[in-house]
Symmetry: C2
Subunit: 395 residues, 2 copies
């Protein structure tokens, strides 16, 4: 390698600015930002750089040999990446939503154009999850990947559980600190974790599943009764994304709150940190832990992707193109805690068995076994009901 | 990639057997063990495989396209790897001692012969430390790598601290469970951690330092008074390997026991597990945790190295050949706890300042500041004295 990266950067929000700072700090000789495309060119940015609001200024610049896309808008991001690859320009993206919807097509486009797209920064900020799944755990031993993939909701849960802070105050604080998405629903309703889980699953198990097919449930309806229940059981509520190989070449996937016991690695993942547990046969469990959000940590993850481009690294998608195929299934049963208000709410849930039932004037809950398919069937409906649920595994 | 790996395996101890099991279990189509070279061909092995005691049977087999070396003897391992690379056969090694002494020459030989040598399995078993330092944290942001790199000594410390087990019993248990080196001094006197630290430092900071130049001190002289001292301070004693960039392009390195406070990630690394904290500017700290020893976890790490060979992966040694060079120094001062018997013992240590002094009929210790250079100067001498020391950082 002797080339230098002349970067065309799209977006100058939290992460774009983080990347800018990191590059300045290390005085890189390998890469520089040639031009930055932003929506509003008149907004004061407080840095010296060549800004434009016209994408053509980047795509028509023959010197630019890497596109780095760090914008919020998934559809616009998709068109930028597609245009980059079609033009044979390597690209780096941090847009998990865009990837969660378009990864299949973009993998195909990478093959067709022989142009790489890297996106380690899109899942878990500074933790190199994708790279490790792609490079290291690339054999058939992988059993599951499970973790806290959203720093913002975890920050809120930490503040609520450890400092008895109110939900609203914790959310505002996360936003002020710059590690909440501009649309908080992405964080607290689990979608951000979902998008990351989809990307991770492509690399972990070679299986792409559309967002709509995966049960996704967040923490926005959690209340004091739920927190009390968790505390009584010596557990903490965490928002957990989970993919696991179950019998005969099938995988299950879910994003939902989980009552986590003290013995689990992710019990101690606090504040805006992310933690991922990779489980396999023979090597048991690996735990990776780090800052999953924030401009600078994510900016440095983008830099790692850029450096990888410098060395002509590309994802091989070994599992996707390998011989052993897995299929997605919702045919798996687990134990949940469900807090509800009315009998009509409860009736929505097709429990296979109820283990525990509590009923008082101001609080009602059950603990019971239910299939993932049953949950998926009511996924939309239950968002509008006065209920809260969390996986409640025995250990 | 369409080739198949026909492996010539040297050694069939704990890890060699682990690799054999893992390959059998996954029914790999990509790799098979063609022949195994062992010292004693008459020893019953209980497996069906083609054993030999003549290395030529492997080197002269034109079908064998990968040498995997998993023997105990560092000098013999060195000759095997050298012969493999010279013959243009890619090689995988798990021998950290051999690498710690010969890595410089073997990097040169890889370049000269364009033949890769991989050894992720040599440091921290199943935790992909080297690969991540090589691939992911490959920019100038790295500040330090610090961790528990030896599962056996950590197992002993865990049993002593958590279960009040005697030192000898804990050591025997570690050996029975198969994660102690055949020579226990390698584990408990810190040499195993030292060898791994040297390899890690080559990839982390591009700097090779000879084993003799690094202060290395283990846990074999620890006694009840030391354990009591740690407990009183709310800390645990861990055997920590540490490399850190200090002012103006210099790094310090050490392997020694450390009094670890509860807030540190490595405080909770128990039993035979390894834990590594990678610290950098901007991304703060990353923590990787997993099984660092044992036949199956290490065997699966060897498999990862083999799979990487299948994809023509090789270490780039970016930092070694990069533009920013760092130098090794012992000119750094830190706080230690020193338990001693006689004034003559104490006089060996050139403390810059004493903060705390305790003297009773049956126990004497000081807490004070001392330079790494002063410690290095007495490294050999203090092994034969009735003393124990541990780093004792303020936080």
């Amino acid at each position: 390698m002797s080339k230098q990266l002349a970067v065309g950067l799209f977006g100058f929000g939290n992460v774009g600015r983080g990347l800018f700072d990191v590059l300045n700090k290390i005085e890189s000789r390998d890469a520089y930002i040639k031009r930055i495309c932003v929506r509003d060119i008149n907004k004061p940015r407080g840095v010296e750089a060549d800004f434009t609001d016209n994408p053509d200024d980047i795509f028509n610049d023959p010197e630019i040999n890497l596109i780095v896309e760090l914008i919020d808008d998934a559809e616009a991001a998709y068109h930028i990446i597609k245009r980059a690859l079609t033009n044979g320009i390597p690209a780096v993206s941090g847009n998990k939503k865009m990837l969660a919807y378009h990864i299949g097509e973009l993998i195909e486009l990478q093959r067709k154009t022989s142009t790489p797209l890297l996106y380690d920064a899109s899942a878990c900020g500074s933790i190199p999850v994708i790279r490790n799944l792609e490079e290291y755990y690339d054999n058939d031993l992988l059993i599951s990947v499970k973790g806290i993939l959203n720093g913002s909701s975890n920050f809120i849960l930490s503040k609520i559980f450890n400092e008895k802070m109110s939900y609203d105050k914790a959310l505002r604080m996360a936003q002020d600190l710059g590690f909440a998405e501009s649309n908080p629903s992405l964080d607290i309703d689990g979608y951000d974790s979902l998008f990351k889980l989809i990307i991770i699953t492509v690399h972990a198990f070679g299986c792409y599943v559309e967002p709509e097919r995966i049960f996704t449930y967040g923490i926005s309806s959690m209340n004091d009764a739920d927190i009390r229940f968790a505390n009584e059981k010596g557990r903490r509520i965490k928002l957990v994304a989970h993919v696991e190989k179950i019998a005969d070449g099938k995988i299950m996937m879910s994003v939902m709150p989980q009552l986590i016991s003290r013995e689990k690695y992710i019990y101690s993942v606090e504040d805006e940190f992310n933690g991922v547990v990779i489980k396999g046969e023979f090597y048991d469990k690996q735990f990776m832990f780090g800052r999953g959000a924030g401009g600078h940590p994510t900016g440095s993850a983008v830099l790692s992707d850029m450096t990888a481009c410098l060395y002509d690294y590309r994802y091989e998608y070994k599992r996707l193109f390998g011989h052993s195929k897995v299929e997605y299934t919702t045919d798996v049963t687990f134990r949940i805690y469900l807090r509800y208000s009315t009998d009509a709410d409860l009736a929505l849930f097709r429990f296979e068995r109820i283990h525990e039932r509590y009923d008082s004037d101001d609080n009602r809950y059950v603990v019971g076994d239910i299939s993932l398919e049953s949950l998926r069937a009511v996924n939309e409906e239950i968002r509008h009901r006065h209920v809260f649920l969390a996986a409640y595994p025995k250990d």
